[in-house]
C-alpha cells in the first residue's frame, strides 16, 4: 500500500466513530500494536523534542525503506506515534519526506492536538521526516 492508500484506510477507520472519546479509545488501541524500539535505544538521543511526554523513536534503512520503531511513556502519545508509523514505516525515504499527511486533518486530529509545545504530533512528524531525509542522503 502507498502512503496515500494507508492514509485513506485510516480515514475510513476513523469515520465510524463520531465521538472523540471513541477516537481516543481507538488511538490508545493502536498504541498497543506499536513496533517497539529496542530497550537499549531508549536514550536521550532518541527522544523526540517538543513532547510533554517521553517519546523515543528510531529509524533504520532496510532494503531501501525506512523502518520506524518507537515507544512512549504516555498512552495517547504512544497511540499517535503508532498511527504515524503505520502510515510512514516501510516507505522510501523520499516518499516520507514528500508525504503531505492530509489524513491528520481529515480525521480531525490536528484540531485536537494544536501545534503547541504541549503536544508532540507536529514534532513527531518533523522528526520522522528529518530521519528519512538523513537516511536518504546515506542511501
Amino acid at each position: 500500500m502507498s502512503i496515500a492508500e494507508k492514509e485513506n484506510a485510516l480515514i475510513d477507520d476513523f469515520s465510524i466513530y463520531d465521538d472523540w472519546m471513541e477516537k481516543y479509545e481507538y488511538i490508545i488501541e493502536l498504541g498497543k500494536d506499536l513496533p517497539q524500539i529496542e530497550e537499549q535505544l531508549k536514550t536521550d538521543d532518541h527522544l523526540i523534542k517538543g513532547c510533554q511526554s517521553k517519546v523515543w523513536m528510531n529509524a533504520e534503512l532496510k532494503d531501501g525503506k525506512v523502518v520506524f520503531t518507537a515507544d512512549a511513556d504516555a498512552v495517547i502519545a504512544k497511540g499517535i506515534i503508532a498511527l504515524l508509523i503505520q502510515v510512514l514505516s516501510n516507505e522510501k525515504p523520499q516518499d516520507i519526506v514528500d508525504a503531505k499527511l492530509d489524513f491528520i486533518k481529515e480525521i480531525g486530529l490536528q484540531e485536537h492536538l494544536s501545534p503547541t509545545r504541549s503536544n508532540g504530533l507536529v514534532s513527531m512528524v518533523k522528526q520522522m521526516k528529518m530521519d528519512a531525509l538523513a537516511l536518504n542522503m546515506t542511501a
Binding site: 472523540w20 479509545e25 511513556d73 504516555a74 495517547i76 504541549s118
Partner: protein
C-alpha cells in the same frame, strides 16, 4: 446563616468565556492558576478605551492624551488602594510578575556586592529563581534555598540559620503555584527584617484569593500579574517601598523615564516613571485598574470561605479514585489541587479531560525543583476560582473516572 452577597449565578453571568461548550460538553475551567477569566466589566473597559480614549499618555496637550493619562494614573491609584500602598508612586506598571521580579533583580542587584546572598525557596516558580541566578552569575552573588518539606510546606525553621549578615534579599512566593501552599508571609518578613534583609513577595497566586496589604505585611517589594486577577494579559504591577525604589537605578532606558537628556548624560525622571521606559501598556493598565476595583467590591472572607469549600470538596471527591496521590497538603492551602494517578501519565489524563470539556494544566508548572523534590516529572493541576462550582467539580471527577477507565 450569615447574610451574603455571594451569588454564584450572578458572578458566573459576568464571565462570557464560562458560558461556552467544548464540543458537546460545558466548559469547566480549572486552570485559574495559569490565568483567570475576565469579567465583562474589564472587557467593556478595554473596548471603551480603544473606541473612545486611545492616545499616548503623558506630555500630550490634546484632549485624548489628557483623558488617557488621567485614566492610566487613576488605574495606578486603584492598584495602590487594592494592595494598600502608602503612595501611588510606589506602584510601577510592569508586564507581569516575571517582569517585576526581573526589575528588582537587575536594579536592586546593582546595589549588591560580590559575596552577598539572595535567599529564595525550593518552592518557587522559575520566574522567582532564574532572575536571581542571572544576577548572581553577573555579580558573584550566592543564591540559597529554604528547603521544601514532604507536605508541601517550607522548612521555615531553617530561616534563622540561612539568614546571614550577607543575606541582602529574601524572595518567596506568597502562594505556591504548583502545590497551593500559603506561606506565613508576615511572620517571615518580620524575621528577615530583624536581620536587615529586604523581602520581595511573589504575589502572583495570592491577590486573587485573599486580601494582601503591603503595609501590614511590611514587604519591601511585591510583584503580581494582572491576568491572574481578572485583568488583561501583558500588564502587572510591582510595588516597592519609596526609599528603596529611589535608591535603585533604572535598568531600562527610553522615553518617559527621563527628566533631561543631553548628548553627555541623562537625568532620570522621578518615581514611578523612572521605571516605566517607553509607551506602556496603557489599555492593559486601565483594564487592570477596573479589574481590581471589581475584585475589591467582593468580601474577601466570603471568597476565601467559598474557595476553601471547593478545595475540600474536590480533595474529598478525588480521594475516592484508586491510586490518587495529592501533592501539596499544607495546613494553610489555597485552592490548588495537584495530583497524580498511579501508573498514568498526566498528559494522557489532561488530554482526555480536555476531550470532556475540562481545562486543567499538566506538566511541571514551571517549578522543576518542586517536581524534582517529589521525584516526579509533573502533576495534573486543577486550580479553582470563586466562579467555579461544586457541580463543576462533580463533572471533573466523573470525567476523570472515565479517563482512568480508558487508560487502565
Amino acid at each position: 446563616m450569615v447574610e451574603t452577597s455571594f451569588d454564584i449565578e450572578l458572578i458566573r453571568a459576568q464571565f462570557p468565556t464560562l458560558q461556552q461548550k467544548v464540543g458537546k460538553y460545558p466548559l469547566v475551567y480549572f486552570d485559574n492558576g495559569a490565568t483567570s477569566q475576565k469579567p465583562k466589566v474589564v472587557i467593556d473597559r478595554l473596548d471603551q478605551y480603544y473606541k473612545l480614549e486611545n492616545a499616548n499618555i503623558h506630555r500630550g496637550v490634546h484632549y485624548l492624551s489628557q483623558i488617557s493619562t488621567d485614566n492610566y494614573e487613576k488605574a495606578r491609584k486603584s492598584i495602590q488602594a487594592f494592595i494598600n500602598a502608602k503612595h501611588d508612586h510606589e506602584v510601577i506598571f510592569t508586564s507581569g510578575t516575571t517582569d517585576g521580579i526581573n526589575l528588582v533583580a537587575q536594579c536592586f542587584g546593582t546595589l549588591l556586592e560580590k559575596g552577598d546572598e539572595i535567599l529564595i525557596t525550593e518552592l518557587e516558580h522559575h520566574s522567582n529563581i532564574v532572575p536571581w541566578q542571572m544576577i548572581a552569575a553577573e555579580k558573584g552573588l550566592l543564591v540559597k534555598y529554604i528547603p521544601l518539606l514532604e507536605n508541601g510546606e517550607l522548612d521555615w525553621d531553617q530561616l534563622d540559620e540561612l539568614l546571614t549578615e550577607k543575606t541582602k534579599l529574601l524572595a518567596f512566593a506568597h502562594v505556591s503555584n504548583s502545590l497551593g501552599t500559603i506561606n506565613p508571609a508576615k511572620e517571615i518578613i518580620k524575621k528577615a527584617h530583624s536581620n536587615g534583609t529586604k523581602v520581595l513577595l511573589d504575589a502572583a497566586q495570592s491577590l486573587q484569593h485573599f486580601k494582601v496589604d503591603v503595609q501590614d505585611l511590611d514587604c519591601d517589594f511585591l510583584a503580581f500579574s494582572g491576568h491572574k486577577v481578572f485583568g488583561p494579559t501583558g500588564i502587572g504591577a510591582l510595588y516597592g517601598k519609596e526609599d528603596l525604589l529611589n535608591e535603585m537605578p533604572p535598568y531600562k532606558g527610553g522615553g518617559d523615564m527621563i527628566k533631561t537628556v543631553s548628548m553627555e548624560k541623562t537625568e532620570y525622571n522621578e518615581l514611578p516613571f523612572k521605571f516605566e521606559a517607553g509607551t506602556p501598556h496603557i489599555a492593559g493598565a486601565i483594564g487592570l485598574g477596573t479589574a481590581v476595583d471589581w475584585l475589591s467590591g467582593f468580601n474577601y472572607n466570603e471568597i476565601q470561605q467559598y474557595e476553601d469549600e471547593l478545595l475540600s470538596y474536590a480533595t474529598e471527591q478525588i480521594k475516592t479514585i484508586d491510586g490518587v496521590t495529592i501533592y501539596g497538603e499544607a495546613k494553610n492551602k489555597s485552592s490548588i489541587l495537584s495530583f497524580l494517578i498511579e501508573g498514568l501519565h498526566p498528559y494522557d489524563i489532561g488530554t482526555l479531560l480536555n476531550q470532556q470539556g475540562i481545562a486543567v494544566r499538566t506538566g511541571h508548572h514551571c517549578t522543576q525543583p518542586v517536581m524534582d523534590h517529589f521525584g516526579i516529572p509533573g502533576t495534573i493541576r486543577a486550580s479553582f476560582c470563586f466562579y467555579n462550582t461544586k457541580e463543576e467539580i462533580d463533572l471533573f471527577i466523573n470525567a476523570l473516572k472515565k479517563a482512568v477507565d480508558m487508560l487502565k
